[in-house]
Symmetry: C2
């Protein structure tokens, strides 16, 4: 992807990337996005789940959702995804930082009406969160499909921004007797908790028992 | 806090809370926020760190930051914080969900010029990320203080939204032979990685060796 005036990273441009695969990798690892839009100048930022199929990002929800109804009118959207990889502890307060990978995506959303694409988007959505889950659950029935609004956003105007590595202190501060380094952070899964109404003979599926997000680090 | 037309949660209002302490608890546990603002109708959503002192939320950065310069002009801000607590696996694709705690905060930011408040805000900022860190590091010198723009946002117009618990399936689906339940998620810290230039006699501080975010769950 080529940067344009909207996607060009202004602050710390050395951390920026416009590589589509890097954008996809970050989108695929994260679980939620923060979706921004404005109504008469008033910004709203709403966390929501999503799925990706090639160069399309899908969001979905109730047709009654104010966010989806607003997006369906074709307003400008800014969708941001952030993976926090670590806390960067410098010797000075000023140079503390965080290691992260983020994507900022601009565009306008389009309603997905085609039943086949809609079903593929919902499959992508479920399998994005828990790979393999879609094949084992009851698929949407016609009422549920009709009661789900799916919007697609092209992954065309996007930038990634990444910080890795140790703190960068002022040269004279390296002599200070202050421990410095990184505290790595990860989103980890604990043991699955079965619904009390789960049928007793059902085992925890492997994808739940060993759930993890596959970090690119 | 009393809900107003801007903060009133529209979707699934049974998940909403306007309790200040609940809002503070979520803000204190999370590490980053997603900050939304619009410039001529174009929304931007930028991830950033923050600190809290009583009913003020502080953000900071370079005076060259486009985001901070825009906020400093008094534009409307929507600041959103999301803690993802679990993946909710239902028997039907349609009823999959996530457990989460989020805060949406509206307002306008004000520049902090008073040197004492500015230093307190920066202390809150550092200690929000790593409690106890501020006391051990070199504090900002006058040039660094001048080179840091600090903005305050009152925590007055805010709402929290929380989902907990198992999946809620359609009654007829409970008989399906599909495992259902929750995969709990947490942000966890791995062993700290010392900067290669760390002085050799320095031990990893306890707050880094045993780092964790204290969940309210």
């Amino acid at each position: 992807m080529l940067p344009n005036p909207r996607t060009q990273v202004k602050r710390l441009p050395q951390r920026a990337s416009y590589d589509a695969q890097q954008v996809y990798d970050i989108l695929d690892e994260a679980l939620i996005c923060h979706l921004g839009f404005a109504v008469e100048g008033q910004p709203f930022v709403i966390p929501t789940a999503y799925g990706r199929l090639e160069d399309q990002l899908y969001i979905h929800g109730s047709p009654a959702s104010r966010m989806l109804r607003t997006l369906d009118r074709g307003v400008d959207v800014c969708l941001t995804v952030t993976l926090l990889d670590g806390l960067v502890l410098a010797r000075s307060a000023f140079h503390h930082s965080m290691n992260y990978r983020s994507v900022v995506l601009f565009g306008t959303a389009t309603r997905v009406d085609d039943p086949t694409e809609k079903l593929m988007a919902l499959k992508a959505f479920t399998d994005h969160v828990v790979p393999g889950r879609w094949a084992e659950v009851r698929p949407p029935n016609p009422q549920e499909l009709a009661g789900t609004l799916v919007l697609g956003l092209p992954i065309a105007e996007a930038s990634a921004k990444v910080r890795t590595g140790p703190p960068i202190d002022a040269p004279e501060d390296y002599a200070l007797p202050v421990w410095a380094g990184e505290i790595p952070l990860q989103q980890t899964a604990a043991a699955p908790v079965a619904d009390e109404q789960c049928l007793p003979q059902l085992e925890v599926p492997d994808y739940a028992a060993t759930y993890r997000r596959h970090s690119q680090r």
